[in-house]
Each structure stands twice: as C-alpha cells, then as structure tokens.
Subunit: 432 residues, 2 copies
C-alpha cells in the first residue's frame, strides 16, 4: 500500500500499521516530518529548523514494513491503481492513503504571494525570517522617516492561531529582543498590526477567550483590527477595508499571510478522477469511514479531507483542520484498512476534540480544554506553561526535545532568540 | 572608522577598540558572524546553522562605539576615503580595516562550481547538505546498478583540514548514521574518496601526523588518493590524473570542492586603487604593520592579506590563512590604529603559532601543539577530545555552546545527526 504525505496524518497511519502484514511505501516531497505547530518559531528565529523537523526515513528506521521515498506525486490513477511521480516513476497500490495536506490560499489573488508569504513549509519559515530581520536592518539604514516607518510596520493577515502567534512573537522581538542593538532606530517603536476579516481573533475559540487573547495581544503592543478586509497588497504596503468608512492604505514592507488555507491540488485531481466532490477549498468529501465514494481502497485524511465526525445519537459534525484531527484520521484510516483485510465492516470516523490552545507571546496563551468531565477555559501565564509543556510533549519522536527545551528556557530568561541567522546577502543586492 | 567584514579578523579588531574613542561602523554582507571551523558540521547535518552563527548586531549590542550595517561593499575609494556600498550608500572613513576574507577558487575553472560546490558560507553548507542527503535518496530509487553506484560515490577534492573533516564525516554518515534506514541500498557500501594534488594530506602538519591522519581516514573507509589532480568535472563525475599512468574517470553525483582559496575580489580592487600588489590568489601585500604602502590609514587583515610575521632576529615568515592568524591580525591592526592616534610609531605584526589541529571523524583527530616549552604531536581519541573542547571553548561569544555540546554528546552516543533536514523538494523536480 502507499501513503502520500508524511505530516501528522500520514505518519500516524503508517505507525498504526506497524504490526500489520502489509508493505507500505510512504512518499513525501520533503525529507522531513515537520512539527507544524511550532513552525512560527522557526519563522521568528526562536528555534532552528532541525529542532522541529525529523527525517521521515529516520522515523521509520525500525518499522520494517515501511519504505520511504522522497518524491513529488504528480497524480493518482484510480483505474490503474497507481501513483505517478513527477520524476516519471509509478507506484502501484492495493490500498492508498492520501494525506497530502494543505497550502495557503490567497483567495484567487495568487499575485499577493510575492508580497505576503504564507507559512506552511520550512522554506516559507526561512523566507519570513529573512524578511522580518532584513526589515529592521533596512530601517537602520533608511534616512527618510516615512520609508523607515514602512520598514518598521509589520502586518499579519489572519488572526487564527498562526496569525496570533506570529503577531505576538513579532511584538516580543521588537520590544524585548532587539532593543539596544540598533543605533539609528528604536526597534521597540515598530508597529505590529494583526488584521482579521471576521469580527474576532481565534474564531474557533469561545468568545471569552477571543476577547482575552485580543487583550493580551494589545498589552504586547499589537494593534488588532478585526472585521477588516484586505483589498490589495503590493511591495510598499496594503489596502484595508475597515468595518465602517472608507478603505485606507497601510504602508508596510513586511507582510505575513496567515489567512487562507487551500488543500493540495491532488485533492481536485483525485476528485475529478473518482467522481468524488471537492469543496471550495479543494478538500475531498469522504465517506464516514474516510474512504472515497465507490473507491473503498482509497482513503483521504488530514487537511485534504472534508470529513465529518460521527457519534451515535448526534448529527455528524465537520472536522476542523487541526493536527489532532489529522492524527485521529490517520489511525481510523489504518484501522479501517485492517478491517477490510479481515473482511469486517469499516467504522465511521469519530473526532475526539480535546479543545484548543494558542500562545500569544512570552507568558501569554489561551487554553480551551475539553475534558470528559467539564470544559475548562483559562488564559495568561498558567495557560502559557500548559501550552509549552503540551508542545514539548507532542514533539515526541524527535530526539531533540531537550535541546528545544533549553533553547526556550534560555530564550525565556534572556529575551534572546537563538536562530537570528539568515543565509543570502543584504537586501537591495542580488541573492547568491 | 570602518571595518569591512565581520569574520574572525574584523570581529577581533572591533572588540580590541572597545574602549577607544572612535566611532566604528562594521559592514558585513551577512547578518551573522560565522564560526567557520565548524561549518563542515552544518554541511554534514551534525549541527544546525544557528549553533555556529551569531548575529553581528547582537555581538556588538553592548559596544556603544560600534554601528552594525548589513550591506555589500562594491568598492573602496582610497582618494576620497569612502567605502561604496552595492545599494548606493557610501561610508566615509578616517581609518579603514579591510577584513573581507576569502572564497573558494576553482583555479580558473569557475564552470566547475556548479558540479562541485565549495564550503565558505551557510548557504554553501546547506547546498552540500542537500546534495549529500539527496544522493542517498536518489540511490534508493535508482534501479540501474551503475547509476546507483554513481549516486553512492562521494568525492572530496582537496585534503586540507576542511577536506579531511568532510571526508571523515561523510564516511561516518554512510557507515554509522544511515544504515538500517534504507530498504533498497546499503549506505555503508557508499564510496568516499578524498583526492589531493600534493603528495600528502594535511600539508600544513608534520609528516608523521599526515600519515596518521591518512591511516585514520582509511580505517573509516575513506579512499585517499594523493598526488592526484582533477582535470575535469561534470554532472556525472570527474576525471583524475594519478601520479603515474593514464587519467581515469570517476563517476560520482556528489562532489565537494575543498581545494582552492581565493581572496575576496575587493583585494584586487583595493590593490589597483592604491598601487599595492595583489598576489596570485588575490591577496593584498601589506606592510609589516598590516597597513597598505603609502596608505597608513588602510589596514588589510585575515585571509585577504598576504602578510608576514616579524620576530626580531628571524627572517619574516608568511602567515597562514587560519583563524588564529586572522584574530591576531585584527588585534595588531587595532593596536596600530590606536598608536597612530596617539602619534606613536606602529609595530610590525608577529604571528604566534600555537599549532594545528584537525578532526577526522568520531574519535579521530590529529593535534600538533606548539607550547612555549616543546612541540607536542598526538592523534587518535585523545586528540579528538582535545579538538572537541578547543572548539567548544572558541565558540565563546555564542550563547548556545551548551546546545552544541548536547547535540554533539547525543550525536556521539547515538551515531545520529541532528540536522538531517533540507528545504526544497525532491531532486529531479523544480525547486520552489
């Protein structure tokens, strides 16, 4: 069998089949599994890339039934039951799990990508790190006050968990990391704006926690503008439509896109080839057991799946695009494949929601915990410690948790950021 | 005053002027000072980039007389006493220290750069890391035995310290890190070749240590070929002229260049503008006090300088292009500027040689120590421990020595390599 993608869903599916009598080929276009919840820390120079990424091949070294393949999937041929690779190779399969994930969506404005990079891969994180650090460098050299202000205006578009974390951390960098290192500018005077189209930040959270998160962001010096839609982005800034009144221009040389998510193009290709339905974001609608209609041998999981959660006596509920859901789908898809091999009926997917957490900056976070007994909401320092240990815990499988912990501990005490290093040369010259 | 370049020489010069009543602008084209002796560890996935690089700006945060500028120097105008930047800015100077360093030289065959990257910058290290790891991935996919063998043949050209360290570490990776992770190839069967034009490895070392280093390399499984000149390199391999007999072809898909060093192009530009002499490698011949003939206000130090060491009663001796020499030149240049400001005579540079050390792989190194009492040569495990602690010690100024130590300790015990992570996608497809 073949698993496409080694994110949370694909990794979990392969691991769940460890003792099964199957031959698994895991294909991924990068050589590493990425702990995406901490990717913003790489983008903001708090962690090095290897701290949150582990070689796929290494993760499966002791699982003899897994073969790892570095390669990009071009398309899937459900009739021939093969996966075709971009380099020309083909992989036949009897069962297929498609866990190719998602990328950012610019809602049809792909020309914005150049001015407002998103954050999905390590390469994205390095690009954002470069832009953030170079903006301060350029401001230090700039003599014109308006141009300097534009370099010192950082805009994050989209106030989901990633946007909130990015904005909070940018504020930390400006207020706590960089002051004292520049001679012509005061980094603490940098503006950090967080724009959100909907009426509140962290929409997936209860309203009280959204309000708390916004207050914590504002205490860090982030200007939060909700119900504000971005109508244009270019090299020198962006145009914003506020809830009332006329659109205004925001000069900024560093814009980060954390707004839209689109499924991998493989979703639409697969839907077209199997007669399945892809939703507006390109996600494939799956059966209750996560397989495709008419193709029980193909399962789609993670961010690529428009899946629903089934609990006896309740209406099916849509499953959110978060990593615990991807992991759970991976386990269910694997279990259903084993059931099919034994000739048993498959079972519908049930998503167990343990709640949400998001960090805002040093000492600040919001936690919405769903325990079997009651729902617990809390925020502030204790929520931050909870967030920290939850993330360290889920980095299991990476042998460098201790290193991450030390990096964080020392970043915490010194306000310094470990990974303020970018390759390439100065802006305004050609890169090499 | 202006200091161009923040490698070992520039950094040391600026620090030596900490209490002086001067305004210093340090210009560097990257945002970090690089601990180059460990760059091969980044290239071979043993360390992450931030472990050996620190932001220039951060290093000078408490030195109030230093302004850091990220920028590339286009040229120097000694008549106008200005440094012109690539982005159009100019920096006037009263004193100038040029410490722009060196890059690799392909001895006039710059077309080889594409097939055999050198190792001077973090970007170089990432490129080599990518090629090494992708070569094993490609071999795993390749079905043709000859093509597979070419992917599994790694060639390092040049057996100076960097070449020896690269070859030894590649052997470690093939023999100890990767086995067990592949299903179609045996990484331990990879060939690692070290080619050297001169008759022995580590030419700067005493002959006994060269012999010991070669024996240790061979024990690790490196094929050492001395007195062998490379006459051609292309995508599929290289052509080698052995000491006797006909040239032969060596199919290889991963070649690393560690052979030639050329001074920054700034050297020739400066020589032409001041009437100084540049040697064949582009290094500028300096006066005994490290200033330029007729231009006492300009000092050239580090790898850019063709300097000599002066000791009363001895013939002047050429100074090698190693980091202790760069640091010592930085201190001398700074001291001579202070002497000039006080109206005193400058003093000639004297290089204190404490010896050489090179590591070969886990447990293997050679040390040639020049103490005031006697010269000590040793090799093997104890030399390796000495090398390790010397390098940790000289990482001073980086707050992450503990992290480096932990990475190494865990790499040592597990044979694993922390940073086996590359960005970009699979070979054979376009990079993004």
């Amino acid at each position: 069998m073949v698993i496409i993608g080694c994110g949370f869903g694909g990794l979990e599916a392969a691991r769940a089949l460890e003792r099964a009598d199957v031959d698994i080929t895991v294909v991924d276009r990068t050589n590493h599994h990425l702990f995406q919840p901490l990717l913003y820390q790489v983008a903001t120079a708090g962690l090095s890339a290897p701290a949150i990424a582990a070689p796929v091949r290494h993760l499966f070294r002791r699982q003899a039934n897994v073969t790892t393949l570095l390669g990009e999937v071009a398309d899937i041929d459900p009739a021939a039951r093969t996966v075709r690779l971009a380099d020309g190779g083909t992989l036949p399969y009897d069962h297929l799990i498609v866990a190719a994930g998602a990328t950012h969506s610019y809602f049809g404005r792909d020309d914005w990508a150049r001015f407002a990079p998103g954050l999905k891969t390590l390469a994205d994180a390095f690009e954002i790190r470069r832009r953030v650090l170079f903006a301060f460098e350029a401001a230090e050299k700039e003599e014109d006050p308006a141009a300097r202000a534009a370099w010192l205006t950082f805009v994050v578009i989209g106030a989901g968990p990633t946007g909130v974390e990015m904005a909070g951390t940018l504020a930390e960098i400006a207020r706590h990391t960089l002051p004292g290192e520049f001679r012509h500018i005061d980094p603490a005077g940098a503006r950090i704006l967080l724009l959100e189209g909907s009426p509140r930040v962290l929409q997936a959270m209860p309203e009280a926690l959204s309000a708390s998160a916004q207050k914590q962001l504002e205490r860090l010096g982030v200007e939060v503008r909700t119900a504000s839609r971005v109508t244009a982005i270019d090299e020198a800034g962006l145009e914003v439509q506020p809830p009332e009144g006329a659109a205004y221009r925001l000069p900024s040389r560093c814009v980060v896109w954390a707004a839209g998510v689109a499924a991998s193009p493989l979703g639409r290709q697969l839907a077209a080839a199997t007669g399945a339905t892809a939703d507006r974001a390109g996600r494939v609608q799956v059966e209750p057991d996560l397989s495709l209609p008419g193709h029980p041998e193909i399962s789609v999981i993670g961010d690529l799946a428009a899946a629903r959660s089934y609990l006896a006596g309740h209406e099916p509920r849509p499953v959110p695009g978060v990593s615990p859901a991807a992991k759970q789908m991976g386990r269910t898809a694997a279990a259903n494949i084993l059931r099919r091999l034994r000739g048993e009926a498959t079972q519908p997917f049930r998503y167990r929601d343990y709640g949400n957490l998001a960090t805002i900056g040093r000492n600040s976070a919001v936690v919405d915990l769903w325990t079997p007994w009651r729902r617990i909401e809390f925020s502030g320092w204790f929520a931050w410690v909870f967030w920290l240990f939850a993330h360290i815990y889920f980095l299991i499988g990476f042998r460098n948790r201790i290193v991450v912990l030390i990096d964080w501990a020392s970043a915490y005490w010194s306000s310094q950021r470990y990974a303020r290093v970018v390759t390439g040369i100065a802006p305004g010259t050609t890169d090499n």
